[in-house]
Each structure stands twice: as C-alpha cells, then as structure tokens.
Symmetry: C2
Subunit: 721 residues, 2 copies
C-alpha cells in the first residue's frame, strides 16, 4: 500500500496527458519541447501540481472536458496499476479485466492510460484527439480504438454496459469454469459521475445488478458535486449510496478522493472481497483541481483558458512550454504492470491448454465463440414452412426458431423486459440466469429476466455482446424499443450483434390501443445506420431474419413481430427472404408492384385477387422483410424485384416515411392507431383488400402517362456509406 | 374513519365495474340483468366477495388487466371518496386535485370511478371498453376522455407526469397565491405499480421530485409482488421505500392493503401533512384476490377464464348472471361526494372573484392562461433579422427569442436537462424553480433544472402542460431527445403544447463525435404523428418556429438548433417561414430545386453560385424548416414551392429517410458521423458547395428525359389523417 514519488509522477502524467484544455490557437503551437523539464521538477510534484502540463495531449483540440480526468487521475492510477489485469498486446484476451468509462466525455483519461500501458495508441494518436479520422474521437468508440471495451459518452450507457459485461462474466464462468479451472474470473470496473447517476438507464441497471448479485462488478462514483449546470445542489441532492444500498449493493465512501491513494486501494480490495453483491465506491473529488475554476461547472465541459493553464503551471513550478512529456519512470512502471498482465495471460493460456485436454468440447466451444462464428450446420435447424402449414403469429414463429436452435447455438442468451409470455422469448427448457442462492436459476442460465427496464436491457445486451462469448436476444413490445433508443443507437454505432425481439409490432396488437401501437418506430430504426429492421411476413421469413441476424457479426437487428396470426405465404422461402426483399407473387403482365412487409403481405396477396376481379388490374407482390439487407443486394437483383415500367405502391400499416425509396406511392398510417379488436382497427384504417385495391388502382391511373417510368431503385447518384 | 357497509359495497362495485375479465363470447351475452341481486346480497359482501360481478363492464372485451383494479379498489375508494376534491361537471376546474393512474393498464378502475362519480362517461361507455372509437380505450387517453388528466400506460410515464403536475401546482401557487388567497393548493395523487417502479423514467422523476420537495405530491405504490413475468423475486428485489427515502421522500407502508381502509386513510392524511417532501405510501396488496390465480402473474394481463369467474361468483354467493350493476347507495354516496366537490368549486369561484378585485392583473392572467391563448400582441416581440445581421448559431437565436418574449408570455417555463449553457435555454434574469429553502430559487421561478434526466424531463413537461397554466420548454442535445422518446411520443398522442429545445442538431456539433451527432433523429420524429419538427436556417426562421410552436395549442414541437453559426438569409422572413417551407431563392429559369433545412440552406445558396459558374446550371432554393407545417398548406402553395417540370434534390446532413416526399433525389448522411472540427466533418462528407453541385448536376441529367416530370407534391391518393 506504499505509494511513492513515481506513483505521484504517474498520476500527474496521466492527468496532464488526459486533459483537453486549450482552444485551437490559444496556445503557441510553435513552442519548443523541453522533455526533461518534467523530470527535473518532479521532486516538487504532488497531488496539487499535476495539472501543470495538462495542455499536452490536446493543444490542438478546441473543445473537451478537463474536469473529470483532472479529478480521476489518482483513482485511475490505483485501479489500473494495482488491480487491473490486462495485456495491452492482446486486448482480446477473454479473461482480462474490463474497464468502462461511463463518463465517456473524460475519454482522454482513458486514451492516456491506454498509451502509457502500451496499447496500440501512440503519442501521435493522443495529439490527434478529437481530430477527424483519429482513433481518439471525442468520446470513446469501442469499434475503432484498441482497449476501449464499449462505446460511451451518452450518459448512463457505460454504467449499464458494465452491468452487461459483468453478467457475461458471471454467465461465462458459470458455463465454462470447472473445479480447478477458474478460467473466467475477471472483474468489471466502471467509473461514473453525477451525470450517469442521474440517468434512468443507470438506475435500471443498478437495480438489476443488485438483484443479480454481480460480485465481480466494481463501480467508482466520482462524487465531485458538479455537472454541466454547476453544483449538483441545483438538481441532484439525493443520497446516492443509500440508493445503491436499497438496490442491494455493497457501498463504501472514500472521502479524500483527491489524495487518499491508500484509502482507494483498500476500498477496491474490500470490494473485490464482497462476492455476493456489486460494489460501489463513492469517491469525493475536486473537479478540475488546480484550475482557477476548480470545483465548478466551468471546468467540466470547456477547455481551460490560456491564462488558467499558465497560472497552473507557474503555481507548481513548471515550464509552461512543456508539452507531451511522459517521464521514462512512468513508462517503466506502467510497462512493468503491462508485462505482468502479459504473463498472467500466459499463465491463463497454459491453464486453458490443460483445460482443453480435460474438457475438450467446452474448450472448443469457448474458442469458437471468441471467433464470432456459429457452429457448423446450425442453420439446418431453422424451421421452414409450407403454404399448407397453419397461420401462426410471428412472435410464435420466433419462439419456434429459438426452440429449434437454442441447443446448437449455445452462446444465444435470450430474455425479456418482463414480457416473456407476450414476447415468446423463452424456450421451454430454458433456465434463468440468476444467482443460485435465489433458488430460481443458475449462473449458467440462458434466460435473462431484465425486469421492466427496456433501456438498461438494451445497454446490458451491448455489454454482454462486447464481452465476446454471448449473443444476446431481448424482448419487449416494438413500441417500447423506443424507451431503449439511446442504447439501441449504440448497438449500431459499436457494431454489437444483439437481437431485439420486438413483438406487438403494429395496430394489429388491437385493444391495447394507440399508447402501445407503433407508428413511427420502424421509420426511426430504418433511419439508424448499421441496424437491420426485420418485419417478417411468415415462418420462412422469420427464420431468415434469425439467420441473417445471427450471422451478421457487426450489425444488430430488430425483429418486428406480430401478435396476430399470419398465414404461410405461397411464394416465400428462407433462401429468398435472406435477400431482404423478393418477389412473393410474380406476374409478367403486372401493371403495378405492391411492396409490403409483415402482416400486410398476405393482405396484398388478397388485394391482387380483388384488383383483378373488380378493376381488371394485374398486380404483383414483393415482400420486403428487411430494406437494409435488400439494399445490400446487387442492382440487377433489386431491379428484378422492383422493375422499371410499372408503378409500385408500398403497403405497411404505419408511417409511410421512407417507403418512397422503394415505391412511387405509399399506403400507410401517418396518424395514431385505435383501441379495438385488431380486425376492426385494420378496417377503420382501410387496411383491407378493398382499401389496398382502391389505392393501387389510383396509382396505376396516376402513372399511366409518365415516360419513362423508372423503378425507384434507379438513382441519380449513390449515397455515401 | 368509520367505514361501513356502503363503503364496502362501493369498493366491490368499483372492483366489479373496473375489471376486464372475459374473452369475447366466453360468457352469455344474452344473460338477463337482475339489477337488484347485488343489493339483495350486499349483506354478505366483504373485501373477499368483491370480485363476484367483475365481469360487468367488460364482458365484450377480449383482453384486459384484471389484477390491478381488483387490488386497488379499496385504496381508490378511500382516496377518491375521502380525500379527492373535484367537480365531475367541470373537469377543467384549475384547483381540482389531480389523479394519475401510472399503471394505466388498470384503466377500467379509473373509468369506473369516473362513471360512479358522475363524469360524462356512461354505462354504455364502460360497456364499450376497448372497443373501436370508444372513449374507454385500452389505456387512458387524456385528450378523449373527460376526467383523464394524462395519457398513461407506457410504464413510468404517469409517474413522471404526476411529478410535472405537482411542479405546475407549486409553480402556479407560487405565482398566483397571495395572503388570504390560497387559490392553488390542489394535491396530485398517483398510483403506480412494480412495473413503473422499475422504469428508469420513474427513478429520474422520483429523484427530481425529492430534490424539489414537492409536498403536495402523494403517490401510492401498489406493492403486489407481481409483474407480467410473475413474482417480482425474478427481477426486482430492491427495497423500494429505502430508495425513495434516499431521494428525499416521506415514506409509509400500509401492510394490509387489501383490507385496512383506516390505515390507508391515516397514511394519506399523514402524507398531506408533510409539506416539505413528496410522499409515497407502499400498499401491500394481493393482485386479483378471489381469482383462482390471485397473487400470480396470470391475473395481471389476461382476462379471467369463465370458470374462474363462475367460481368467484359462487364462492361469494352471487348470481353469475349479474352484470352492470351499480347499487343506488353507491351512486348516492359518490354523487354526494361529487356535489361536495362542486360546492368546493363554487367556494373557490367566490374566492377567485374576490381575488379578481384585489389582484386584477393576476386574475386576468390566470383566466387567460386557462383558455390556452397567448397575450395580445406578444408576437410583436419576436426578433426579426436582416441579411446584414451577423451570423449566429440557432441555439443563440433561440435564446434571443426567449429573452425577447419571456416577459410577455408569463406561462413560458424554460429549462434544461443539465445543458443550460449549451442549450441557451435561460434568459438572463430568469429565476430557478426551486424550493425557497434551498436559497437558490423560488416556487414562482420559471427555470427548471431537470438534471441529467431527459426522459423524466419530457414526461414532466407533459404533466406541466396538462396542468393548464404553463407552456414548458426544455432543452437537451437533439441526439438525447431520443432518450426521451417514450415521453415525446406521448406529448404528441396527448396533444401537449411542449417545446423541445434540441441543440447540437447534426454533425455540425463537431468534436463530440458520432456518439452525439444525430443521424436518425429527425426522421424518427418526423414519422411521429402530431409533432412539429423545426430545423430553422436563420433568425427569422427561429422566430417563426417559436411563433408556430407557441400558438399550436395541441401540438408539441422539437426545435433542432445548431451549435455553429448560421448567416441570416436573403430570402427569409417570419411570414414566409411560418408556412413551414418557402422559396428562399427563386429563379424562373431554374433547372432544379434544392430543398434544404437549417445549416444546409446557406450551403445550398452557395452551391447555386457554384453550379452556375462551373456547370452552367440554374438552381432555385427552398428552405423547409418544418415539413409538417408545410404539409398543412394548400396544394397550390406547395406546388409553387416545389413545382412540376424540374427535379428537386433535398440537402440535409442526416438520414435521407422521408425526403423522397419532397424531392426526386436526396443528399444526406446515411451513416454515422465523425469526431473533428465541424468544417472538417462537413468536408469529409462532401457537404460543401462543390459536393452539393456535383449531385445537383447528376440529378438534372438523370431526369432530363422524364415526361411529365411531376413535383413530388402530386400524389395518386391522399393519406388518411
């Protein structure tokens, strides 16, 4: 527990590297470097001097958040150098300790640490902080920067990601650990601030983590009393630790969070020892200490002013021209810790080799999971259907998929935000993921009871996916995926393979009414980059949705599924459906293409007959379960599905927004729905064969004089992607 | 505190009327009514027999949630009949007590109460529960049903609405109450269940309410240990009361929530006495008591089975054929309470008349606010701009609007989710809405510090708006309006005049990077019915956005505002901009129309020059700050803006989804953004005059052979609205 000069130097170095300070041009970029000054002066270093060279990493950035890194350098040093086990040369080692910076705006802290410990993040990368196409963007992005576990910044997300990482650790340990083989025992550490503590998503995740008794989860709450609006007394006066106690967490308070390195170490040690509860350590710190604005909101989200930088440097005896200095002792100390981590991984590899001899199948399974590839031949288990098979709701079809594949895809972990019986997300033999002490589940259980916590569920799934051994699927009503929008967005941005099982997908849910009937939801998520939105029309399409969702390693999926029964289509096959859109009913003489999804495809097929019988119009039907996957097909194929020469009309019982991309005219619902039996609701809004036919006829008439009548697939220019 | 036979009868009647039970056809709809049987049998009634006629109101509904109404009838009786002050003949009386059923799925409870007390909700309305076009939809909708204060059902919303209603009460009292005139002193009561308690939005709102010391807010927590997935031990084992204590609430527990009417009354009385804290009463109840499935999840969200109904009726000696019975004694008792409410309103009216003599201006202001109309001539204060005025970020332009109008629109209450300095939502002289004991504000303060609680902010604003005396405006980054999506949707559905001040509206925010840069957000909210999404291009358009937002009584608005400076356009005026879209640069010889919004309009104007100089193409420019308002203009006008004969191309630096409705081709950003200086980011994605011109030229070329080339304003058929 003894901390010396080099520890202090390291803390100061982190703080300096990590702190974005100066607006562009407000410091002299021509300044010569005097790399030895820091070491010459280091005798004088102490907790209060650490800010003197904070200008270093970011003197070209014109924005940033200096406060949190200035306050959290000491705890970072203690945590990373005394506790955390990782190998910077292999950031993918499965049993590494995970670290999440939930207050992601302080990411220069994390970038500095990654650099100092020897991750592939160079001094130049630090210099490029917040510059275009750097690997050091304004908030940490998991996909692009080695050593960043999850993408954070949107407040509260990292907190819930950390809970998901801890769930994944506990589950993976439950599945793979054996007597004598404590293979998976890493900790998940997370820093969070007042902003995260105020977010509902963090409350949800904290409540879930307490219930789940996640002993290997250790959070540090940066209690600096400051958020962007200033003192937390303006808006946030609750007793945070008492709240966490109420959730079932182990709580501690380190009062001197600026200086008490020993206290921090003791608290983390104690937290590690508590195995039946997650731990939170409240660390009272001074935001931006040393700045003229220390302890105020002024130092949270704006770079320090030049005069402030100068006074800080002068105050502590530093050369204001010093930039980008890392004393060799600091590199040495941190590289030593890194090499201990590398050695630990070597030890682990030996253990795993021995394990592989004794538990061959399990070892192979773990190795395979870490590649992201599914087991050979798993897809043969996917159910397929004939037109003569009975009509079934797609939420039930989804259940049949899970029932069919759970055994061959062991990394699939399903769950629901308290709608299990409605989402049909649970296979019959599923065991709950629960602390064994509850008597209602096991750590190895593959069914998550997320509670009525949609936002936390989504962010926990992101964390679970990021762990590397799990593919999470989680259910709620489609309308309430919107509650999780903040986390769903990060599923996409951070390339997580997670599956949202979104049932009750339209006014077709009936009596629950407009509060529960999605109108805008599919447009919302279709506009989200790197998201697949599936709305299958029958059993084969539902299987296709799962096939593509599970085999797309870097793209999340939303499966919009019906409450009401759907007939099995004549024209559907799994092979066609995995193209995202296909011709469900062809007619070479067609005068119009009806493009539809989900429950409306069979209505369109009925409308074709009605059109022929009553208006003498010939129509063809395209089923388009996933526009994003359809967009990825070659143009010839897409033009064969939505051809030139005849108009097309989309039919989907929700917002028409975006359907113009695939159709000349759109039949949808640009208003809220209604409470009633679903057939009555469909009828009210004219989603009947007659209602479709009437509009199709108007469309044929409207476009009869346009030459050439191009398919909307033809565009004047391509979009940037 | 004495409760007698009629009280019990009333409870049983509520329970029976309120409980959806039987699937359609599972009971004999031909059953003759025997209206006197209930009274004949009432001697035998007791707490446990109350379920015997629960089939009544909903025998035609094929879905429903019997559990909560069965459990909460006793507390409803105590609360409504012993405490709540309201006049069913005037549901708009400003000082009525407010009631919110946050567990809105139990709404038949509320409908039954409204009926029994004499609101305009007939027995036929009860019979039409969950039927199409009824005023008794599957979840309570404020806009359509008299006596429903806010639209609930999506869990947690009502809880946060109630906090907003209590904020509005405290604020309105702070503004209007005077010595001797305790004009505004109503309570806000709210029921919530385990589902709401798990939702993050409720946690956020509870934390805010504790901070704000909302003494007139009294919540009843229906602690029935059941959610849809079954026993709460599966997922929700925290200590709820301890959590609320941590938030600063006064907490009580009534252990016998099924029977202890005196205990309930005493707890509510005690809660009323606590004036410096919101109160929560945990009421332990048995869900669906009397049913074969009592105390289980089976009785939460599914109607009782016929045999269950029969056994319940038999068990308690009732005629299973009894339907739709309200004993006259119950009507009498409740109508008596209602007439006491009417008398209280009469008293209040007298008080207000006296007040009007003494405080003429205040009285006139309150009366005016309740009409929803703004003060005469307020709009003359809106800033207008000339092209020669300096370039200003639209978030600053928004601040100028607030600064200009706050004095003449006293019902405007601004605020931010902890981004005050970034959202520019606070006029200089604003006083915070805070408990005076904090020393940092007043009840009459008009600036809300919502904390980092976007979702609760939005739902609180819905509640504040629903109170009737406030127009709330609340700020966050546009990207984080998505955190509030669940509540934003209800702003639209329940017709609340709330304003979301959504700054940092695009990749133009620069360095914060993709985690903070909206791509899908505007498409999402444009797809939401009854929502105005404004993205003003300059000062006049920003003023126009506020003008339309403030004068649209039944439609919420999102104002998407820039971080970066925008020049004042040549072609903009307030009068043009309030049409939602207008010609910013006309040219009779134009070969293409560029349709754009916000920060890209001035780029398009630059592109016009570039196109002329480099490609010899003539272009015109349309600024389209609000598509929803543009859609509301007559077709001739819309065609004059986007005419036939030439192609149009949209230019907006985010998802193109939906722009096909106003343009033939779309230039946007269907991928995530990048962290860097905003000009670098714009350049990376070719949002430059050159980048626009290149695509415009391709568009002109692509459409040169199409005849007739129709404006996208022309459609084959109209959408249902």
């Amino acid at each position: 527990m003894a901390y010396g000069e080099v520890d202090q130097l390291a803390i100061n170095t982190i703080r300096c590297l990590a702190t974005p300070t100066s607006p562009e041009g407000s410091v002299n970029q021509e300044t010569k470097h005097h790399p030895n000054i820091a070491t010459q002066h280091r005798k004088e270093f102490n907790r209060l001097t650490g800010l003197s060279i904070q200008i270093d990493a970011t003197f070209k950035a014109n924005s940033g958040h200096p406060g949190a890194p200035m306050g959290m350098a000491p705890i970072s040093h203690v945590l990373f150098n005394k506790f955390m086990r990782f190998n910077p040369k292999n950031p993918g080692w499965v049993n590494r300790d995970r670290f999440v910076l939930s207050n992601g705006h302080g990411c220069m802290l994390q970038y500095a640490l990654l650099h100092l410990f020897g991750y592939e993040l160079s001094m130049d990368d630090l210099k490029n902080f917040r510059h275009i196409d750097s690997i050091t963007p304004g908030h940490p992005e998991a996909h692009d920067t080695p050593g960043i576990e999850v993408t954070t910044g949107p407040l509260g997300q990292g907190f819930a990601n950390a809970v998901g990482l801890a769930v994944a650790q506990a589950h993976t340990a439950g599945v793979f650990n054996k007597p004598g083989y404590d293979l998976i025992n890493n900790y998940t550490y997370c820093f969070f601030g007042d902003g995260c503590a105020m977010e509902g998503i963090a409350s949800e995740a904290a409540s879930a983590a307490g219930h789940l008794q996640l002993g290997n989860l250790i959070m540090i709450y940066d209690d600096n009393h400051i958020s962007i609006d200033g003192d937390t007394k303006c808006a946030f006066t609750e007793d945070v630790l008492k709240r966490f106690e109420a959730y079932g967490w182990h709580t501690q308070h380190v009062e001197q969070g600026d200086t008490d390195l020993e206290g921090m170490e003791a608290a983390i040690k104690k937290a590690q020892e508590v195995k039946d509860k997650p731990s939170v350590i409240k660390l009272t710190t001074t935001i931006g200490y040393g700045s003229k604005l220390q302890g105020t909101g002024g130092v949270h989200g704006n770079p320090l002013k030049e005069d402030d930088i100068l006074q800080v440097k002068k105050k502590f005896g530093f050369n204001p021209e010093e930039t980008f200095v890392v004393p060799q002792e600091v590199y040495d100390m941190y590289h030593k810790h890194a090499s201990e981590g590398a050695a630990a991984e070597q030890e682990w590899n030996k253990l795993f080799e021995k394990y592989s001899g004794e538990y061959k199948d399990l070892a192979a399974d773990l190795s395979r999971r870490l590649t992201g590839k599914l087991p050979e031949g798993w897809q043969n288990k996917l159910p397929t259907y004939k037109p003569s098979d009975p009509a079934i709701a797609s939420r039930k079809l989804s259940e049949s998929v899970l029932e069919a594949i759970y055994d061959v895809v062991p990394e699939l972990v399903s769950g629901s935000a308290d709608l299990t019986g409605s989402n049909n997300t649970r296979w019959k033999s599923a065991v709950d993921f629960q602390p064994p002490s509850t008597g209602i589940g096991e750590w190895s259980g593959r069914y998550m009871r997320y509670g009525v916590r949609e936002h936390a569920m989504a962010a926990m799934m992101n964390g679970m996916s990021a762990y590397g051994t799990i593919i999470p699927a989680g259910g709620t009503f489609l309308n309430f995926v919107s509650y999780a929008a903040g986390a769903v967005r990060l599923s996409s941005l951070s390339h997580q393979r997670v599956i949202y099982v979104a049932t009750h997908d339209s006014i077709g849910l009936g009596e629950d009414g407009p509060t529960h009937q999605p109108i805008e939801t599919l447009a919302h998520f279709r506009a989200l980059p790197n998201m697949m939105v599936w709305r299958p029309a029958d059993g084969n399409e539902t299987s296709a949705a799962y096939y593509v969702a599970l085999t797309s390693h870097e793209t999340p999926s939303i499966l919009a599924l019906t409450r009401q029964n759907l007939p099995q289509l004549e024209g559907s096959t799994l092979e066609k459906a995995i193209k995202g859109g296909y011709v469900a009913l062809e007619d070479k003489n067609a005068q119009i293409t009806l493009v539809s999804t989900g429950s409306e495809v069979s209505l369109c097929l009925e409308a074709v007959k009605y059109l022929k019988d009553n208006q003498g119009i010939t129509a063809r039907v395209v089923s388009m379960p996933c526009v994003e996957v359809f967009d990825a097909q070659d143009k010839d194929y897409r033009l064969s599905v939505i051809p030139d020469g005849i108009p097309s009309m989309s039919v989907e019982v929700m917002s028409t927004l975006g359907w113009e991309k695939y159709s000349h005219e759109q039949f949808g619902l640009n208003r809220f729905g209604a409470s009633g039996a679903y057939k009555d609701v469909y009828k009210k809004f004219e989603f009947t064969p007659e209602g479709i036919a009437k509009r199709a006829a108007a469309t044929v008439d409207f476009y009869k004089d346009v030459k050439p009548l191009r398919s909307p697939i033809n565009r004047a220019f391509l979009q940037l992607i």
